[in-house]
């Protein structure tokens, strides 16, 4: 399979804690994107990291990319109840994005 595979499938943490989600893939990529999907809604783009980048930040989000290990991680710091959602990674080649089934993140108050 060429799809991005998120790990864990589900994650439940207390509000205020950090959440880390991992993504592995098998093909060569130009970039890797992370998206969030709230229940009953479309996916929302979070971060795009290019293959020549190792780390990228956006607010409370930190994404790392290790092309030698074909893996990426998404860290959400100081989690909030509103972060409850499914998170998807999408490794991208020139032609298309390959999606996994996501990590379901639940933030407990």
């Amino acid at each position: 399979s060429q799809q991005g595979e998120e790990d864990p499938q589900a994650l439940s943490i207390q509000e205020g804690e950090n959440a880390t989600m991992n993504c592995s893939y098998k093909t060569s990529i130009n970039n890797l994107q992370w998206y969030r999907q709230n229940s009953g809604r479309g996916l929302v783009h979070l971060i795009l990291i290019r293959s020549n980048e190792r780390e990228k930040h956006s607010g409370r989000l930190r994404v790392t990319l290790d092309t030698s290990k074909k893996s990426s991680s998404l860290l959400i710091t100081a989690s909030r109840a509103a972060d409850t959602a499914s998170y998807f990674c999408a490794p991208g080649s020139n032609y298309q994005l390959i999606w996994g089934a996501g990590t379901k993140l639940i933030i407990k108050p």
């Binding site: 009953g40 479309g42 996916l43 032609y95 994005l97």
Partner: protein, 114 residues
């Protein structure tokens, strides 16, 4: 509001019927997509259009036919609906045909075939 909008949000229909889902984007993007998300949340691309030209056509039954009257619209018509077609269908758009720019998604159409 600038967005990707698709209608209807819910579609319940019987096997054998024909239905259409409409999608419009006012982001000025050249590329539009149809994705299918199954019950296990896997997201799979079905079609991609760039400036009204079909550029991705994955292995999808020919009962599914996309139509792009202009680059701001990409509609999906489904003939002879089957139970296995039940899923959430997402329309999306992006600035570039090469996947180095973010995708903007609509809120999905939940199709239930009975």
């Amino acid at each position: 509001d600038t967005a990707v909008s698709q209608t209807p949000k819910y579609l319940v229909t019987q096997m054998g019927n024909d239905k259409s889902i409409k999608c419009e984007q006012n982001l000025g993007h050249d590329t539009m997509y149809w994705y299918k998300q199954d019950s296990k949340k896997f997201l799979k691309i079905m079609f991609s259009y760039n400036n009204k030209e079909l550029i991705i056509n994955e292995t999808v039954p020919n009962r599914f036919s996309p139509k792009s009257p202009d680059k701001a619209h990409l509609n999906l018509h489904i003939n002879s609906l089957e139970l296995g077609d039940s899923a959430v269908y997402f329309c999306a758009s992006s600035q570039a045909r090469v996947h180095n720019s973010p995708l903007h998604f609509g809120n999905g159409t939940r199709l239930t075939v009975t």
